[in-house]
């Protein structure tokens, strides 16, 4: 089959590789019909994420048609499914509590050592995201092997367009969980740092959860425009003093809940941490902590902080004093995708949530390297690239 493979910094290629096969009884093979490039894929592209190996297949936002099933899969050939980026077993203690991204078993035994070293306990496996998270081949390919297919993939109606449901795989549940973690009450004012896909979905979700005002903060004009379309008020932090603006806009109180959706493109884990460990001083570290620091300072007394933004390691100058003195609550975590999929699918089918506005580019899988470069070079205009294996490659 054809697949987008990683070869090093700014070097991804579409290669011909062996087709995936059923290995374990609960596996299924999915023929990909649509897959997206996530902001977090850019960190692989930029070479920030360790434990990548040449030839690794990327992609953790994907959907398609079931073409083969293992003996214990509950899927049937021909079904249309969206696959969560988190690989969870459904049988362990954490899956029982619907904490799917904390699954004990989704990450192969040997790969769990690093998570144990870094975080105390290893987290679940992920598709197409380095060998620390399992080394699973991703979905920017013609086919993918999906472990625990009886737990992860959600069957969607045949007649629904791919683009309407594709983002159930990651960014829509992530934005939704971000808003849920903000424990929004009727009439709340919610401030969202970062208008990438997750921030934009958090804006939508916050309104659905009863917020009367959402204030969106970014520096990309096009992204702020999208937030405005959903009814958010906007702050361009390059032109405006964010804290001062928030205080004035909220009558000196501060937002009831704050959502930091800035660092999210890292999906995780490693960037800060590794940088910290090699004791390199990095602009990344500073940038990343800035939004959470500002969010905590702006948040009203007794308010709530939600952090879908991913931080991998240690942060400096975390305003622990403000956090304690103001009595804030912080909720965070990798998304428990499987938990949110059914309700969000219903909301999409009922027309309550639209995700298609995000897609700025549609390309053939064969053009994926071009897609990475475009996304990397122009994050204002390129909000989301969707790759489709059955599209024909664009002429040069």
């Amino acid at each position: 089959m054809r697949a987008l493979t990683w070869h090093g910094k700014h070097d991804v290629r579409v290669d011909t590789v062996d087709d995936p096969e059923i290995i374990n009884p609960r596996d299924a093979i999915i023929k990909i019909t649509a897959t997206a490039i996530c902001g977090s894929d850019l960190h692989l592209y930029d070479g920030y994420i360790p434990t990548m190996q040449k030839g690794d297949i990327l992609g953790h936002e994907f959907m398609g048609e079931v073409v083969e099933v293992g003996a214990k899969s509950t899927l049937r050939k021909g079904q249309k499914v969206v696959v969560p980026f988190t690989i969870a077993c459904g049988s362990c203690y954490h899956c029982g509590k619907h904490q799917y991204s904390a699954c004990d078993n989704g990450n192969p035994a040997d790969n769990q050592d690093i998570g144990r070293e870094l975080y105390g306990q290893p987290m679940s496996g992920l598709f197409g995201y380095s060998h620390m998270t399992g080394g699973y081949a991703g979905g920017q390919a013609e086919y993918v092997r999906v472990p625990f297919s009886d737990v992860g993939p959600i069957v969607v109606p045949d007649d629904i367009e791919d683009e309407k449901v594709l983002f159930l795989s990651d960014i829509l549940p992530t934005g939704w969980m971000a808003a849920e973690n903000a424990q929004i009450e009727q009439g709340d004012t919610v401030a969202v740092w970062g208008c990438g896909p997750v921030g934009l979905f958090a804006v939508q979700s916050a309104f659905l959860m009863g917020a009367s005002r959402v204030i969106a903060i970014d520096h990309f004009p096009h992204r702020l425009e999208l937030a405005k379309k959903f009814g958010a008020e906007t702050i361009n932090f390059e032109e405006t003093k964010t804290y001062e603006a928030l205080m004035e806009m909220t009558g000196g109180i501060g937002p009831d809940a704050v959502i930091d959706a800035v660092g999210l493109e890292a999906h995780g884990f490693f960037v800060d941490n590794v940088i910290d460990q090699i004791k390199a001083s990095s602009f990344l570290g500073t940038d990343r902590t800035h939004s959470i620091r500002q969010a905590i300072i702006a948040c009203r007394k007794g308010g709530r902080v939600s952090m879908p933004a991913v931080y991998g390691g240690f942060v400096d100058k975390f305003p622990l004093g403000a956090f304690m003195e103001k009595g804030l609550t912080l909720k965070t975590g990798q998304t428990h995708v499987q938990h949110y999929m059914p309700a969000l699918l219903n909301a999409i089918v009922a027309g309550k949530i639209d995700t298609t506005f995000l897609i700025s580019h549609r390309m053939a899988l064969e053009d994926a390297p071009k897609g990475y470069k475009m996304f990397h070079d122009n994050q204002d205009e390129v909000t989301k690239v969707v790759l489709k294996p059955d599209l024909t490659m664009a002429a040069e």
Binding site: I23, C92, G96, A109, N111, Q112
Partner: protein, 186 residues
């Protein structure tokens, strides 16, 4: 288990002896625990049949059951070597614990215990305690670690595989093809 030496120089607290900072340099002692969402009896039954262990123990090359209490183990060691010993079950409490000791003449003298303790709604706490004479002493242990055949790391990984198999019915793998999967298990 010969824990006396370790216990001797130690303050009394409630922590497991295997987490003592006061190491006995001649004898390595390790313990790893995992909670498995299955009944103790089922886990014990799996473990009581040594042939089953080939499924979860990565470095176990071969196991030959001699009789009800004795089995012969061949385990991968660093630098492509194999080490062998005969293991004798010295204490067996069905559903609860199994204690073993290597017979005289072992390449690596070892003893240990695996316990299965009911943990209510969370299933069963499985704890493996292993004492062994590190081949080549501390340096040998360091080299083994480099080759990822260090017994503590190996035990932890084996217990994870055991958990995966018992909880999910399979052992997680990222292999994409049957061929890759075979090579991994090689």
């Amino acid at each position: 288990m010969n824990n006396d030496a370790v216990l001797a120089g130690r303050q009394a607290d409630d922590a497991p002896v295997t987490t003592s900072k006061i190491a006995d340099s001649d004898r390595a002692l390790l313990a790893e625990a995992v909670t498995i969402n299955r009944p103790a009896q089922e886990l014990y039954d799996f473990w009581r049949n040594p042939a089953n262990l080939l499924q979860v123990m990565d470095n176990l090359q071969a196991i030959e059951v001699i009789d009800e209490t004795r089995s012969r183990w061949t385990v991968k060691a660093p630098a492509g070597r194999d080490v062998c010993w005969e293991s004798v079950i010295t204490h067996d409490v069905p559903g609860t614990e199994i204690t073993w000791q290597s017979a005289p003449g072992a390449d690596v003298a070892n003893s240990g215990r695996i316990e299965f303790r009911e943990a209510g709604a969370r299933g069963t706490v499985v704890r493996a305690t292993i004492a062994y004479d590190p081949p080549g002493g501390t340096i040998g242990q360091f080299i083994a670690k480099l080759f990822q055949r260090e017994p503590r790391i190996q035990t932890r990984r084996d217990l994870r595989r055991f958990k995966q198999l018992m909880e999910t019915g399979e052992i997680a793998t990222a292999a994409r093809t049957a061929k890759q999967h075979e090579e991994e298990q090689g």
